[in-house]
Amino acid sequence: MSLSSASPQPRINAGRSALWLLAGLTMLFLLAPIAVIIVVSFNDTTLFSFPPSRWSLRWYHALWESRAWREAGWFSLWLASLVALASLLIGVPAAYGLAKGRFPGRRLAEALLISPMVVPVIVLALGLYMLFSKLGLIGTPMSLFLAHTLLALPVVIVIVGAAFRRLDGSIELAARSCGASFPRAFWHIVLPAVRPALISAGAFAFLTSFDEVVLTLFLGGPRTTTLPKKIWESVKFELDPSLTAVSTILIIVSIAALLLVEVARRSRIQRQAKEAL
């Protein structure tokens, strides 16, 4: 029995090096496809050579020139923005009710509202297709708006709900006891306190819709072509280099959203540090 082995002195450890090697390879596996598709999109040839022998923006130019791609881009952007807005409008109050409310059936309601996340999307797609075809909604923007909001709602409830649970209830009670009405306290005290979570939830709800494929394929029509739908249709036909440019745009939107979330998170940590002083 040696006490020295318990000391936390750093030493070169074969096991730990092997672990880092494995982690390095895993990082390569995780990031390489994303890096490769971004690099290849700046290729000047129709071949997917890597690294490109000549660089150019011709595939981005081709996208911009194509009216169909431009329209798909705008439609995706509008749809995802509206879905983010709607899922926040319904999801934030629901998350608050689930986090702070004490009423019978709360756990059941929570399970119901979060469960669309685990139901296979193809199953949701078929169910919605059956319902929407009866209502004459197939192929309309409304059908995609409703379906995407269904997927984005649990994302909002999980993220904002976690923030509400962490929130100290006494600041809200203080506002109420000083005479603020419930809506006033909610708007001026509760919501500002969870702002980073609202930003994360909005960003992730946006991405949920912006990247969605299966529901869009099932429920959409010629009037509802989103970027992912157009990629799907093209890739089934031919692997066209301009697809790498669209994919790069999708990836950049995702990374921008993640950065936004990270900035919001850090601002909260900084504020908390200031308050602690």
């Binding site: 029995m1 995780l30 119901l112 685990v118 919605l128 709602l153 995702s254 959203a257």
Partner: protein
């Protein structure tokens, strides 16, 4: 702030009445889900069990599902893909999550970013990237043959290898995040105590750290398996004709054969399997641990 709250604490009764109010705030979301979620799920039941002429009830679709070997094959393929994906994700994901939880903040941040960026990147864009990488004239084959490691290009795409690579890429974060979540909250004093009592690093890990992190591993495995059996995009793009999964079968039955009743029955079977996997996982890891990681 605390002083104000303390001097004017509402009565217990008033607090209770006020606490009941948030219950009403879920009404909007419940109404939305009732129409856009429960109603479609109910129509699946309606279609799957409807009688021959669209009236009455019948078990014809169910007996078709049970009786035909072609459909069993799709279930078998789906389970095989899901099981292999879960196993690979666990083998790669555990050491990765362990490192993420035990290394310094800067490196941990780097490891986290490498998981989060793909996690939130379009599955379609990533599948496309794998198509460019793995094709017969793809980048991987060009490099391997160029370096003389392979004599002729290997078949990596439109077969089960391509599906497995794509699936592990998509689902690995679902394994890493729950394991990391439990390991990062583990008291580092526990393995240290084992070491101070004479255990080797390996013994301390096997007898202390690993058993304590098993619920995280179980939650991760449940999530990966559950998402893997319902996955559509990746097998459809990277797989070949032999990789027909349940999800692809549903799409085929509904869109090509226009057989809605049978598509609905297949969907219910898939839904039942997902529920079963969730129930098994919840029994082992706790439903909350699994649900908490559904942050996607």
């Amino acid at each position: 702030m605390t002083l104000v709250a303390a001097s004017a604490v509402p009565s217990a009764k008033a607090t209770r009445a006020w606490r009941a109010r948030p219950g009403l705030m879920i009404a909007g979301a419940l109404a939305f889900c009732a129409i856009v979620y429960l109603l479609p799920m109910l129509s699946l039941f309606g279609w799957a069990f409807q009688g021959p002429a669209g009236t009455g009830a019948s078990l014809a679709q169910l007996s078709r599902l049970i009786g035909d070997d072609t459909y069993h094959y799709a279930f078998f393929t789906t389970f095989k893909i899901a099981a292999i994906t879960t196993l690979i994700c666990a083998l790669i994901g555990y050491p990765y999550a362990y490192l993420m939880a035990t290394t310094g903040p800067r490196l941990a941040m780097l490891l986290t970013a490498a998981v989060m960026i793909p996690f939130w990147t379009s599955v379609l864009a990533r599948s496309l990237a794998w198509m460019i990488l793995l094709g017969r004239k793809g980048i991987v084959n060009e490099w391997l043959t160029g370096w003389g490691l392979l004599e002729r290009p290997a078949a990596l795409l439109f077969n089960s290898i391509g599906v497995q690579i794509g699936m592990v890429h998509v689902l690995l974060p679902f394994m890493v995040l729950p394991i990391w979540s439990i390991l990062s909250r583990l008291d580092p004093g526990l393995p240290r105590a084992a070491r101070s009592l004479g255990a080797s690093p390996a013994a301390a890990f096997i007898h202390v750290t690993l058993p304590l992190s098993l619920p995280g591993l179980a939650a991760g495995a449940t999530l990966v398996f559950m998402f893997a059996i319902g996955f559509y995009i990746t097998p459809a793009l990277l797989g070949g004709p032999n990789d027909l999964t349940i999800a692809s079968l549903i799409e085929m039955v509904v869109r090509d054969l226009l057989d809605w009743p049978f598509g609905a029955m297949l969907s219910l079977a898939l839904l039942g399997l997902v529920a079963l996997v969730f129930a098994c996982g919840a029994a082992f890891a706790g439903a909350g641990r699994i649900a908490g990681m559904e942050g996607r």
